[in-house]
Subunit: 213 residues, 2 copies
DNA sequence: CGAGGAGTTATTCGATTGTATAACAGGCAG
DNA sequence: CTGCCTGTTATACAATCGAATAACTCCTCG
């Protein structure tokens, strides 16, 4: 019986392949069903590779969590950055990015929830969550402040932070429920609803976010 | 070697004991670590009992999920019902109930997230989630409408529903992030922030929710 | 008080898991 | 073209899992 033919990949490529295979397995079968054998199978390699590149299954999964969080915030901040217009337009794009594909995805929400469920009891997950949360909050604060300034609203640090916390909560909640109940909503409802709600939360004139750009 | 002395419980009591033991195990060790043996150990019985009362481990876990969802919505709606004042006060209590113990709990959020992570890929979990979501949304709508009426605001069905979706998202998001990052916030911050944000979302005069009752 | 049955325990089994180790082979240095 | 390093495969192993079965005991009912 001959050995399986295989391809040699760069360390980065192989690691990324394994991480993405891990995410697929966790989404479809849960953390309990994401076995080393299944991950390897999904990636088209043999189980030994997981250990070779990540040392242990737990380390493999930690890397997958960090990878997911990075994907989510990078996508949103990138979309905001590309809106090279007024502050309104940047905030708008950031918000919309979280209510549309690829971030609005049942698979991504499932993964996020699965990991978040472990944050309380596993220190490494808590670290990844905390850093991701802080980064997201800072991005949001930085986007909110110039908008408040443009409209002549109070924009002290405490106010910005408070708005960011509320807005972040609203984004998270709509993102989760919107993805899981995507069948119930039209595709345009969620972005529209978030923009509308954000204007109210920040005290902006109606349609400043909805109409910008 | 003598057999372990044991106590005979009513079916309801034993099932509840097992369900709560299951939730403890899932919270602490995740779905993958909630083994029949560990659950039985947590409940102070032997593994066979799980099968005897629930048929299989999966059925056991489904019951635990439904139990958790029921706990959360019952607590919030009960607190709202007990505020026998104006509509403002009832909505206020409903909101506050979700930002304070026992609902605001790292353990409960961890459990909720763990289960939600499976909603996409397991039909039974999807059913439990969907029913819970609809019930929560209806409760919220029913609480919002009279408040809008009292303040002379538009209160057609579509408007109420839209407000309920946004408010539900805000509650969920703050609930999750607030519980997981409870160390970062003072105990009074979250309820206060949610009430304030809810007033803005619904277009109510400032302090109508914060000051009622 | 003393059977009978349902609730509970004890024990076992095949399957699957994460990990360890040795054998193999692809592709770059010389 | 040819070693040789290391990415990769193949195989094995102890531990643990969910489930099944049989034995036992608490409690109810007559």
């Amino acid at each position: 019986m001959s050995r399986k033919a295989f391809q040699r990949l760069s360390q980065d490529d192989r690691r990324r392949d394994l991480i993405e295979a891990t995410l697929v397995c966790i989404a479809q079968h849960g953390l309990h069903g994401a076995t080393v054998r299944r991950i390897a199978d999904q990636a088209g390699v043999t189980p030994g590779l997981v250990r070779h590149h990540f040392g242990s299954k737990e380390e493999m999964i930690r890397n997958a969590y960090a990878y997911l969080v990075g994907q989510l915030t990078t996508e949103a901040s990138e979309r905001a950055r590309q809106a090279r217009g007024a502050a309104d337009a940047q905030l708008r794009q950031f918000l919309v990015a979280n209510m549309t594909a690829p971030n609005l995805s049942e698979e991504k929400v499932s993964l996020w929830a699965t990991f978040v469920g472990r944050v309380r009891y596993e220190a490494d997950f808590a670290t990844i969550h905390r850093e991701g949360y802080r980064e997201f909050l800072h991005l949001l604060e930085a986007l909110i402040e110039p908008v408040l300034i443009d409209h002549g609203l109070p924009h002290d640090t405490a106010t910005c932070r408070r708005h960011a916390i509320a807005l972040n909560g609203l984004i998270d909640g709509l993102w989760v429920e919107g993805s899981l109940n995507s069948g119930l909503y039209g595709q345009a409802l969620l972005p529209d609803l978030l923009l509308d709600a954000s204007e109210r939360l920040l005290g902006l004139p109606a349609n400043t976010l909805s109409r910008s750009h």
